[in-house]
């Protein structure tokens, strides 16, 4: 029995005319958009059960052993430039838990243990507890999204991230009406992270978003880059990517998520509130007190490459500007 017919076995009469095929797709799209059909990936999402309420203690591997992430949904990117090389994306990082130089994380982050990994969810939500990474990821369709990434230090890169919208996960915890902000925490383990022995920042590293920012479809809960699982130095196994904000908002190696009714503390803001605001939206008109944010240096260029102008909201103004219509961006930086 052959389930898949070879091309010569298919009669011409069996082939769906292209116009019909297109009509069907259109119908499907419309139905999907109207919410008439539950997509396979959403129905596959089981209720999230905290680890301590699960019967089996066995922990599955969240990703294929090869580290390759396959069957990625494509996503229409508005980035025209080529992605930054894998070498630069994974060799030039700010991840102070592994040292303060740009090359420290790539040399030191091999000590990070990313399995088994758990995320504790707490605060203003109905479903709280400690969840297994594999349970969190299961059922979500991974997408490849090419985003611009702009560091507060005025350099930038373009990265093909792999992940899914953070909002899709947060909804599963059923945040209450009191959940106005979300705070995130990075792992804080001196045995795995040599950098946290020095009080450069307040550990654990913490970041926060308004609930609207967290639910925005551009906010990506990221598990990979360049079609493979995140290298440790890029924030494995689970990090945030908020493409319209300075890079430090995109917290790495997340172990805790807290729904809050007030604005959460964030590590860089605690270190220097004048230089690093809570919002930290990319804004070429609002200088960092010590350097201009009007232009940026694109990584991977030659020594003769010129700086390029920085865009408001890092080029994502069309999608996110509506979040800030009542906010003065010069005072709420």
């Amino acid at each position: 029995m052959t389930l898949i017919k070879r091309p010569q076995d298919i009669k011409a009469s069996e082939i769906t005319p292209e116009s019909t095929f297109r009509q069907r797709r259109m119908l499907l799209k419309t139905a999907l958009a109207m919410g008439l059909i539950k997509t396979a990936n959403l129905s596959a999402q089981e209720d999230l059960i905290p680890l301590n309420q699960k019967e089996s203690g066995n922990r599955e591997q969240p990703f294929p052993e090869s580290g390759r992430l396959n069957d990625l949904k494509s996503w229409p990117s508005n980035v025209s430039s080529e992605p930054t090389s894998f070498e630069d994306v994974t060799g030039y990082n700010n991840y102070y838990e592994f040292g303060t130089s740009k090359t420290d994380p790539a040399s030191n982050a091999h000590t990070l243990e990313t399995h088994p990994w758990t995320v504790t969810v707490e605060g203003e939500a109905k479903k709280t507890g400690t969840f297994a990474l594999e349970d969190i990821i299961k059922g979500h369709t991974l997408e490849e999204r090419i985003y611009r990434f702009r560091c507060v230090e005025a350099w930038s890169m373009v990265v093909p991230w792999v992940g899914f919208p953070l909002g899709d996960l947060l909804k599963r915890f059923e945040p209450t009406s009191q959940a106005k902000y979300v705070q995130f925490f990075t792992l804080n383990d001196p045995d795995q992270m040599p950098g946290v022995r020095y009080p450069v920042l307040r550990w654990p590293y913490r970041e926060g978003l308004t609930i609207e920012e967290a639910m925005h479809p551009l906010t990506l809960l990221t598990v990979g880059l360049y079609g493979q699982v995140l290298p440790n130095q890029n924030g494995a196994p689970l990090r945030l990517i908020v493409p319209w904000k300075y890079g430090f908002k995109s917290i790495k190696s997340i172990v805790r998520i807290r729904f809050m009714d007030e604005q959460p503390q964030t590590s860089w803001n605690m270190a220097n509130a004048r230089e690093y605001g809570f919002y930290s939206n990319v804004n070429p008109d609002k200088s960092h007190p010590r350097w201009s944010q009007a232009t940026e240096r694109v990584l991977g260029g030659s020594i003769f490459s010129a700086r390029v102008p920085t865009m408001l909201f890092n080029g994502y103004a069309e999608e996110v500007a509506s979040l800030y219509t009542n906010l003065n961006l010069m005072t709420n930086y």
Binding site: G91, T103, E153, N272, R290, S292, G300, S302, S305
Partner: protein, 205 residues
């Protein structure tokens, strides 16, 4: 100490001081590489070498006094001029490679960003020192030459402050440079206090 020996030592010092520059040039031309952000790598390497050289220049006098090796003074000019060269290359890298001669933004940087202001003043202070580094200028200026060249202390202080104020949050390197500079300046203050005391004692007796 023969002239030939001093010439030989100077040549060695010159070569040693050129290593960071030659290393950068080699990396820029494919021997190794300058990493993901080559302009910043060049900028920081030249800046760091400038700081190293200004501190090494300032170590000569204490070293001479403590060891009695008078010929060490002969290296001061070589070191000082090399330091000045690195400072100029550092500034040129910033103006040309980093900012691409964007004069408006350079003007804003120099006037509004304290660490750049301090670095710029430090560079300006070193210009008259480099210009009066010749034997003939030294003869012409006489006693005023030594007074003028005390500007190196101010240039060094501003240079280290420039380094400290540009650090994002990890200030361990700038602190190390600050401590070394304070020790070198402290040595001079101590010597000066002692000599004043000696003069005073002589006056009292």
């Amino acid at each position: 100490m023969t002239r030939r020996f001093l010439g030989f030592i100077k040549a060695l010092v010159l070569l040693a001081c050129l290593i960071p520059l030659l290393h950068l040039l080699a990396r820029a031309n494919g021997l190794g590489d300058l990493g993901a952000n080559p302009v910043q790598e060049i900028l920081h390497t030249l800046g760091k070498t400038s700081l190293n050289l200004i501190l090494i220049t300032l170590i000569i006098t204490p070293l001479r006094k403590e060891t009695g090796l008078v010929w060490l003074v002969g290296l001061r000019r070589t070191l000082g001029l090399l330091c000045f060269c690195y400072v100029v290359f550092h500034a040129l890298t910033y103006i040309a490679l980093d900012q691409g001669f964007a004069w408006n933004s350079l003007f804003v940087d120099v006037t509004q960003r304290p660490y750049i202001t301090l670095g710029f003043i430090s560079l300006l202070l070193m210009v008259p020192l480099a210009l009066t580094s010749t034997n003939s200028a030294q003869r012409r200026l006489g006693r005023r030459w030594a007074k003028l060249h005390r500007l190196i202390y101010l240039a060094a202080i501003l240079g280290v402050l420039h380094f400290l104020l540009q650090a994002k949050i990890d200030i361990s390197d700038p602190i190390f440079y600050s401590v070394v500079l304070l020790l070198l300046l402290g040595y001079r203050i101590n010597t000066w206090l002692k000599s004043r005391q000696a003069i005073k004692n002589r006056g009292d007796s």
